[in-house]
């Protein structure tokens, strides 16, 4: 597994395969051809074969892919078969929604605590996990082997908060704050910039308008 090289573009597409394979598996489909998968997913069969060939030994002519096996292999590669206790910083509405969204899914990823600077929240729970003071973050993270943190604080507070993570054992930040975090390369950052996404949507909408105008 460790020596296998898979291009970044393929890695970025794997979550989508994983999602379709799960649905197929859950619907009792044990095998699927690249042609049928192509129809369902709306990508070419040749791209599917190229992408899934990285997992070797599948997709023989006339047999198709074994959905359960492939689902498991991709899950293994993505690190989804291991348990990940996560924490969240910023126990507001967005934080509550993120915890609820993830914890309701029965995944191996699970939020186990939220942290905040607002002392009125200490001792309460949001989306059924306890809210703890920031001063306990470092020891909590070490004692519970937490390596992923979701950051749902306002942008103005995000840079300072991220700074606190530098000498903790946190190794990955799932960043919802609308700002780029100045973190060292040793900490992985995955941004969910909702406003950027809304801007792209709005651009597409207006670009569509311009095209229509062109037709008149």
């Amino acid at each position: 597994m460790q020596d296998r090289y898979i291009p970044t573009a393929v890695i970025r597409r794997l979550p989508r395969y994983y999602r379709y394979l799960r649905d197929l598996k859950d619907s009792g489909v044990e095998r699927i051809s690249s042609g049928r998968l192509s129809e369902i997913m709306g990508v070419t069969a040749s791209q599917i074969r190229q992408d899934l060939n990285h997992f070797g030994g599948f997709g023989q002519q006339g047999y198709g892919y074994n959905t359960g096996y492939l689902y498991n292999e991709i899950g293994e590669l993505l690190g989804l078969n291991e348990h990940h206790g996560m924490i969240l910083i910023g126990a507001g509405n967005l934080g509550e929604a993120v915890i609820g969204y993830i914890n309701s899914r029965g995944l191996n990823h699970r939020f186990i605590a939220a942290f905040d600077i607002d002392s009125r929240l200490f001792g309460t729970r949001i989306a059924d996990v306890p809210v703890l003071p920031m001063s306990e973050l470092k020891s909590f993270v070490e004692e519970n082997g937490v390596d992923i943190v979701a950051l749902t604080v306002p942008a103005a507070a995000a840079v300072e908060t991220a700074g606190l993570l530098v000498d903790s054992s946190i190794r990955a930040v799932w960043n919802f704050a609308h700002v780029d975090l100045p973190l060292p390369d040793t900490i992985i950052v995955e941004d969910v910039h909702l406003l950027d996404s809304l801007m792209r949507l709005t651009y597409s909408l207006h670009a569509g308008d311009d095209k229509d105008h062109g037709k008149h």
Copy 2:
């Protein structure tokens, strides 16, 4: 404006420029060189010049970019200078968080109503917008000139819900449901697949582990 061709890759980077330009403008910085912008944003000055050249007439040697003008031009291109009344379908925690996140920012984008199938919610408000029954969606959308809808229903309900939009005047869907929506090309879809994002993060974390193992 309509005749200007800007490559998709540049468009995808514009929201980030827009964010930095807003911060500069708000801090009273009226001009900035590509070199300084390069330091702040962590991309090469030559990429900045290439990207921003599409807006013409800026960045003369020794003068730099006019932050306010460029901010406004990019906002215009992205369609952010116009008012957009939006609605949301799925008045749960995630829906509430999305409305709160957007409506608290003083943007030209603003949610004006939420829709749900749960009759206990009708007449209540989430994040300060009214929750209305799905049966009123079509007329509400037409009367209020709404063209963007955020979809925060569970994946199992998303496909059916999306179907209801096909003969409404909705033209763009901001999709938070973890499923690909089978919509015609005339409706623009921008996906926010949180689980895919978390999977990529976890992969990077594990890929980092493998690299470390390789060193021993």
